[in-house]
């Protein structure tokens, strides 16, 4: 049975159902117990599962990740929460040098079924240390998997997949999407990691976008549809491993690709998408792969500045129109 749930509720339900199914699943993080997490993502879970399974930790990001790594190697399936994505930087050694590499460096003897959840993205005037989209840093690290859902359905299915996954995963929750509502089946299900979602089919251009930008891209596609432009929107959902096959197939069909993300343009994941597209679809392209992304600055505080910083429907539409200005082959 399906009903409408908010993105934050979909997250919560996935955690609750997986904890119900598997006694080895536990949660640890700052303020997630009695308080339920600063974004409400863990609401009610401590009351339901007890203080042993929903653990309030000190403000110690390195030890939070390390707690997860050590517990995972010892056979549990930890969900550890890093409140804001910016704070992964505090724990980067534990994520990059420990969680991601232990399996390989131990010759395969260890498994690390660890889920790291964190709140990413801008648009809340939270300034430079509480607004970043740092997915490219994580996707660059062999051993990690990275997901970033754009809607409640994908949130529940991806979160369940992360918890059941035998590798360290990072689930990026977009802070601006917490209240977004959508159809969510009540029964447990997974959205398999590494599978993109074709949000909208189209023939004139392909937009690849994730997180909140997938929704902005869909709005831009709707806007352009009224002008007779048919845009295909692809939400990879999982950023590592990236479903390049679905993206490439779309490029073969539309011959024009635009990538959109909230993270800064230089060295962003859009560069990887562009490179993959030119490697796999060079002969099909009628225009250079365009990137719509944040400029190369910290996320600004003032709403007046942040409005200019984050990509939006207008900028995405303009980029698609730009790609279409080039004559086709």
């Amino acid at each position: 049975m399906s009903r409408r749930l908010a993105y934050v509720q979909a997250f919560n339900e996935a955690v609750r159902q997986e904890m119900d199914n598997d006694p080895d699943v536990f949660c640890a993080g700052e303020d997630i117990g009695a308080f339920g997490g600063v974004f409400g993502t863990f609401t009610g879970l401590q009351k339901e599962f007890g203080v042993e399974r929903v653990v309030d930790t000190p403000i110690s990001e390195q030890a939070i990740i390390g707690l997860g790594v050590g517990a995972a190697v010892s056979g549990l399936r930890p969900i550890v929460d890093i409140m804001f994505m910016d704070f992964i930087c505090v724990a980067f050694d534990q994520i990059v040098n420990q969680a991601a590499k232990i399996k390989y460096m131990f010759g395969g003897a260890a498994t690390v079924p660890l889920t790291i959840t964190t709140g990413g993205g801008g648009g809340l005037s939270a300034a430079g240390q509480h607004s970043q989209s740092l997915e490219a840093l994580l996707c660059h690290i062999p051993g990690l998997k990275v997901v970033h859902p754009s809607n409640p359905y994908d949130m529940k299915g991806l979160m369940a997949a992360c918890i059941r996954e035998d590798n360290p995963t990072v689930m990026i929750k977009h802070k601006r999407l917490l209240g977004m509502k959508g159809e969510v089946p009540e029964d447990p299900y997974v959205v398999p990691l590494g599978t993109a979602n074709v949000v909208r089919e189209g023939t004139d251009a392909t937009v690849v976008a994730w997180g909140r930008m997938a929704n902005e891209a869909a709005d831009a596609a709707e806007q352009l549809h009224n002008d007779g432009i048919s845009v295909e929107v692809i939400d990879p959902r999982t950023l590592q491993p990236l479903d390049t096959e679905t993206i490439t197939e779309s490029a073969h069909k539309t011959n024009r690709v635009v990538v959109v993300h909230e993270a800064v343009r230089f060295g962003g994941l859009g560069a990887e998408v562009a490179a993959q597209v030119q490697e796999h679809a060079f002969d099909y392209l009628d225009a250079p792969v365009a990137r719509v992304a944040a400029p190369f600055s910290p996320v600004p505080f003032s709403p007046a500045l942040e409005r200019h910083y984050l990509p939006d429907v207008d900028r995405i539409s303009a980029a698609i129109r730009g790609a279409l200005e080039r004559p086709g082959a």
């Binding site: 930790t57 000190p58 131990f106 395969g108 003897a109 479903d243």
Partner: protein
């Protein structure tokens, strides 16, 4: 010394000799340019790993640091797989993908040496959490140096272990040097154990050159952790006989010959053998037989490692990820 059975006393000796022989052999191979990469030898500190690990079972976990061979040997690591790993061979504990700084064996609860100073401490906290979560009576222990006691992860780990009352031992091997810099230039305290009060956990100083003293302290700390009374800190005052890296390293002089010589007079193995013999626990022949037997094992391990195949190129991408149904399309 008499409080432990003869078997335990001889076991402590054997563990130390195993470490010494492995490390001496590794040092010789390194000087002969037969080992790739970095090598941090444990010679001089054998009493610490041996005294602590003799208080643990295979189900108890340890995490280690860059100077980790001694910890794995003491925990029950096998010479063959260890030597093969140091040589980067496919038969090594990590199939040649970890090497000296990442040597590990989950079979004996050794959750890895670690190339990042202090990083193993948080992982031991996670293992301790798992033990408490499962109420299985097992404990975890993390080995770290005086240098690591200054890094943030260590403080986070100790505080978290205390806050959550986890069965985790913090074993500080204070060898007075963080790499090449003396301790008194990097901290304003003399005894690392002073920090235990800051975490709200018990802490004791032991003579790290006395394996019995270390073992006594470890047994007490393990008992406390097993009965649910939480973590504790043991500071073992010890000394590394060789350089930070390798045997002579670059010939760097940051310690006086006198200082090194004074500590060598307190060699943890030779002084212990004198005590065993004086107490009629063992004869000189008994002691010599241990060395002889283990020397043969080391020689066999070197032969095993040298004759083992290097990993094939097709192993490069194996074990980056665990394959699962939800793994999706990796490329």
């Amino acid at each position: 010394m008499t409080q432990f059975d003869r078997d335990v006393q001889l076991d402590l000796h054997r563990r130390m000799v195993r470490i010494r022989l492995f490390e001496e052999a590794a040092g010789q191979l390194d000087e002969a340019a037969k080992l790739p990469g970095f090598l941090h030898l444990y010679v001089g500190q054998e009493a610490v790993a041996s005294g602590v690990c003799a208080a643990l079972t295979d189900d108890d976990q340890i995490t280690s640091n860059h100077r980790g061979h001694g910890h794995l040997v003491a925990k029950g690591g096998q010479f063959n797989q260890m030597m093969a790993e140091l040589m980067g061979k496919s038969t090594g504990y990590c199939k040649g993908k970890g090497g000296s700084m990442h040597i590990s064996s989950l079979d004996v609860g050794m959750l890895g040496a670690n190339g990042i100073v202090g990083a193993g401490s948080t992982i031991a906290v996670g293992a301790g959490f798992a033990n408490k979560y499962r109420n299985n009576g097992h404990v975890s222990a993390t080995f770290f140096g005086d240098g690591a006691s200054n890094i943030g992860a260590l403080h986070e780990a100790a505080n978290m272990a205390a806050a959550l009352q986890l069965p985790t031992l913090f074993i500080c091997e204070n060898n007075e040097y963080g790499e090449f810099t003396p301790r008194d230039q990097t901290m304003a305290i003399t005894d690392i154990v002073d920090r235990a009060a800051g975490y709200g956990i018990p802490g004791v100083i032991v003579d790290g050159m006395d394996v019995v003293a270390v073992h006594e302290a470890a047994v007490e700390a393990v008992d406390r952790a097993r009965r649910g009374d939480g973590p504790s800190l043991i500071e073992a005052k010890t000394y590394r006989f060789y350089n930070h890296h390798g045997v002579q390293n670059l010939g760097l002089k940051y310690r006086t010959d006198d200082e090194v010589e004074q500590w060598k007079q307190r060699d943890p193995i030779f002084t212990y053998e004198d005590r065993l013999i004086a107490a009629d626990t063992a004869t000189r022949d008994d002691v010599d037989a241990v060395w002889e037997e283990l020397r043969a094992d080391i020689a066999a391990a070197i032969e095993f490692a040298e004759s083992s195949p290097a990993p094939e190129a097709d192993q490069l991408l194996v074990d980056v990820y665990t394959s699962t149904d939800t793994a999706g399309v990796a490329r």
